[in-house]
Symmetry: D2
Subunit: 387 residues, 4 copies
């Protein structure tokens, strides 16, 4: 490496954000995750519905006034027109606005990162895919947990056949955010129980899709049929807060998913257990420094992030030595790490699709199809529907 090459490494990507204003929970987390590795610099944004809030947020984040926009249309147009316009946009707005915003930036030729669920219908998702394909733009959907090193290790050993043929998947995502009737009036409740904002589902779309995506990522299994029961466990809820889904995969295996936002005792308890003919794998988000692998002799092995036992393809996403816990931000940062690396490759003309190690618009489509299939099953008396 000579000095010129070293300097080139500093050519940081730039990004804009739609959402992430004063009331946003997830927006600042995305900014922190991107900052963690310095993957990109924030240089533009529409952070709020009111321009004054946007400009206050923007200024406090170091943006010049002229890159704090009134709305996403203006932002997409202006940034596309600048020679130093943003490389990509991060969309962290309420679910019902994902589609038009993503569409606007794609049409303007700007790469897009969007939170899940990607849109309100799978049709919208397909349109986003069509657009991004047409424009050759990279589209990431932020299913955070695939960024966990131990998740990636699980995927590696399962693909290598270490647990044999999978016959059962038990997955659950219990939270307690909306467990008390009074939570409905709170910030989380308003947002999450309003069909106009969140769509036709709450818990299923918000956290159930994480299960659907992550089990697929870890196991490689495809869902063929599913049967869903969507419940409102807390009095006063108008949308589902506790969902039960049975799935049948293409290989004949059975899966059982549970997503709940009414489960006192859990904060963010995503847990995936995968049972095969030769062993099983157990992963728990709240203790994600460890992956447990069970052997057919009755013993259980705890594999720890950062140790020699982790597969190279997973280990490369570690930052800290073993025992120095990495957490949720590192998982999200790992998505941006791969996305940024692909964008650099696009710029350098060296991009090929096999470089992608982040969830794409295809995964976003699958999430909406999952929601739609669950709604269909639930509405037809919890009977099996095709996926």
């Amino acid at each position: 490496m000579n000095r010129e090459e070293a300097r080139l490494m500093t050519t940081r990507l730039t990004y804009g954000m739609v959402g992430g204003g004063p009331e946003s929970m997830v927006g600042p987390l995305h900014r922190n995750a991107i900052a963690l590795d310095g993957s990109a610099c924030l240089t533009a944004g529409v952070f709020s519905g009111t321009y004054e809030k946007t400009i206050m947020t923007g200024l406090s984040l170091g943006l010049p006034e002229d890159r704090c926009y009134h709305d996403y249309h203006e932002m997409a147009a202006s940034e596309a027109a600048r020679t130093d316009g943003i490389d990509f946009v991060v969309v962290v707005t309420p679910n019902n606005t994902h589609y038009p915003i993503c569409r606007a930036f794609l049409e303007a030729g700007i790469h897009v990162v969007c939170d899940k669920p990607l849109a309100l219908t799978s049709g919208e998702c397909l349109e986003l895919k069509r657009l991004s394909d047409e424009k050759h733009l990279l589209f990431m959907v932020t299913y955070t947990y695939m960024g966990n090193v131990t998740v990636k290790h699980a995927r590696e050993i399962i693909a290598a056949g270490e647990i044999g043929e999978i016959h059962t998947v038990m997955a659950e995502y219990p939270q307690s955010w909306l467990a008390r009737p009074e939570d409905i009036g709170g910030k989380q409740g308003v947002w999450r129980q309003n069909p106009d904002i969140g769509g036709r589902t709450n818990a299923l779309g918000d956290i159930g899709t994480h299960i659907e995506y992550l089990t697929g990522y870890m196991t490689g299994l495809k869902i063929r049929f599913l049967l869903a029961k969507m419940e409102r466990a807390v009095p006063g809820h108008v949308l589902d807060d506790s969902d039960f889904v049975m799935v049948r995969y293409e290989n004949g295996a059975t899966g059982m998913y549970w997503a709940s936002q009414a489960a006192i005792g859990h904060t963010n308890g995503l847990r995936i257990r995968i049972y095969g003919s030769l062993g099983s794998v157990m992963w728990y988000q709240e203790n994600s420094e460890v992956l447990t692998v069970a052997k057919s002799d009755g013993s259980r092995v705890d594999i720890r992030r950062g140790t020699a036992a982790i597969a190279p393809k997973a280990a490369k996403y570690s930052r800290l030595p073993a025992g120095h816990p990495e957490g949720w931000l590192e998982a999200l940062a790992n998505l941006y790490k791969s996305y940024a690396s692909c964008l650099h490759a696009v710029k350098a003309g060296t991009f090929t699709p096999d470089r992608i190690e982040y969830p794409t618009v295809d995964d976003g489509i699958s999430g909406l199809r999952f929601i739609e299939a669950c709604l269909a099953s639930n509405e037809s008396h919890n009977t099996w529907v095709n996926f």
Copy 2:
């Protein structure tokens, strides 16, 4: 207490056993559990299908030859005829023989303890109930885990409203006994995968009924509808080895049960989690010295058997100081403790039904109805059936 009263305490109950010979796993465990407290003395038995095995077992257990019988008919008749005949019989034979054996002893006027599942059909169970009612005999079905002190504590605090209105029950019973195809040829496999012996179900009858009974015991909830998917996860299995059951309780709550004998990583992993409007309760059989109670402020409290935190009705079943683990045998012994205490009361003419703190023939009936409803649902494409 004077000497006469002290001496009276020694008037031990006597029992006979059907089953529990050289190949039996569960027979010796029942004998050990009874011996633990000295609740009763073994004085008669038919331990095996071959008389020679029965007499060898009997002699090695200290029985005289004349109380080692050729078959249960002879035993029931002879013991009923003796003035010092057995107080009760323990039936620990294969499932398909429970009904005729229990019936024979009831008809002979002898109290009965029988392993679960109680019979092959709910009709048989009803007949056993009719007989035991008619003859005023005490009938216990050995759902072992209700004997756990922490299970009883859970029941107490739930009944007292500590977790509010229950909306969700998550229960599972994963084991790995039949996880490998080669396990089919083993002792467990032959027995558990033979419809002629075990009936129309394997995992569901063997361990699924434990879930059905124990969740009912802990929560007081009644099942109204259920929907079942019964799987054969291991190649070569002819009966179910992995079962998924959704239930709807009478109060509108939802339950999700999973029973599997193909789940590597688990040995006897019965786990019950009960979610209410004010808190939740989590119990795990393999760590049953502790009950976890979650509060709506996000904290979790571990309540330990033997400490001051345990409710009196549960605490009276403790034998050892806190931290000196009690286990499976103590749980089973607690069933026999209550049963023996009731038999003593019957003898003393002081028995009333509210003394019963063990699972009865009614629970046995419920278990078979559960099995039958699951089979019906499974056969009609996993649709809802009445319970």
Copy 3:
């Protein structure tokens, strides 16, 4: 096996008990542990300081009046004189009476089981050893935890070199029984804080000796020097309730022991961790169904009692299938199992010392030497003393 041999199996051993009356905590537990396997039958006893209490206890346990004795002298003499006298005596009295009682029974030619600490001085212990050697009597000291299957498995794999050369041992035994000043007035407190009864030490003798014995049993290491700090953590205590001991083993390894009865948060928290050049072993009494073995690649393996992963010499002490928890009583019962097996061999003339798989009078001596060395170190400003 023919009928005669089967009958012979029923030739039960008989035992008497000194202690174990209405106020005793540990006496009933020993009776339960012996009953668990039917290793021996209780046929004689002095259960209390008052004859009336003894006879009440005896009668309620099924003894005839003539084998309920006024004192241990009478009992030793009478039982030795009977042709059907007890095979062995179990001594579960306060510490200060162990020596004279054991001595009386040895002199009468009766085998002895005694609780730990064996006596008040190592000199007394040596005398008991001399007597038992002279009379060819079997002497067991009930260090309960060596009976745990997972402890035995640890010993096996350490002896086999699986963790290499041991360099560090971390052992602790925290309890909370005497944690509050008001506990002093309670049953435990009176007994445990009275030097006239318990000797010159409380926690060290009561639970510290368990550490000393068990670490030696698991590792095979011998202590060469030690340094002790004995504390009274709770106001009002006159004897130690929290003890810290550094040890240097003959092989140069270092050990650190902590025994406390003032540690809120622990009930019976005996924990042993053994670090070697190739791996380490971690055992925790309150979760003793599992042994954790750490590997130099950073992974940890949980080995479960009852599975195929347990070494044969340990596995033979299992009663229940994996996942059906065994507990404290089973551990104690395993001591009696080996002791009874050795007594049968003595009777049959086939006994050889290599059959012994229980703690002996030598271990009792070692316990007292440990106490004496700790007292010496503590009194000389916590300096090193020879062991």
Copy 4:
């Protein structure tokens, strides 16, 4: 807030780094931690002993060439002379160079952050304190773990008397980094076993000082006497790799510390348990999302970061919702957060010492005194020395 105020929030602090070049483990972690919140921007540095490596690192981090310096003397002088010179320097070099480098920057009037142990002798530390006092400069020593939210919560509840009077502290910091003889030749080994670089101690200075600091921070207790045994557990080690320290606090309580880099089975196992007259507190770095509080009724409560149960003074350092794990970087970032906040206050003329919520040069002094006292005790046959 008006626009001017919003803009002012963006007046980022700037910092330089000494150390943190291509071979550094800890340097990049400090940069990441600072970036996490955007607390400060890196604008200058000497990253390596060779200028070429420094400039390569600097360029790749976005620095201009003229702020990549040949050595720290040049850097201190030049930065002090610039009007836009760095606000503070971060020193992450080998232990033996901390003192001269810190001294140089203090003399140049620049605020200093330095890794621990702060210097090689307490005398050097005192000199750094004298200088920083004289120049009114803020000096932070990076004892990372005080940044953990759960550590701060423990401090709050202990200070509020929730566990009563503390009588016992059990603290340990086992790692396995140097567990195998071959590790000596590795990167970690060379550095950590070379007295010329690390000073007269390895494990004690490297990780033992974390225990000394953190127990003091959590409990408020002051050490009065200590007794140390410093071992070399791994053949070939010339400096201590396993240290045992008994301490007596001013209030009469006893502490037991263990630090080891030879303990297979642990990665970064810092664990602190604090026992009081009313309860106890248990904290474990590798699971630091949770703090366990034990009550005198025998129950244990798990308090989780991010929930309502966390004290406000601790809760303000949370970034993520409960159940979204924060880790090691967040803990370190929290130190920088408080440091940056104090620096802003200094600039605004509003600084007062009660704003300090980070470890200072006084804590650095204490660390060296601890090392020196341990060495003195170890060299005088493990006898008590004053602290």
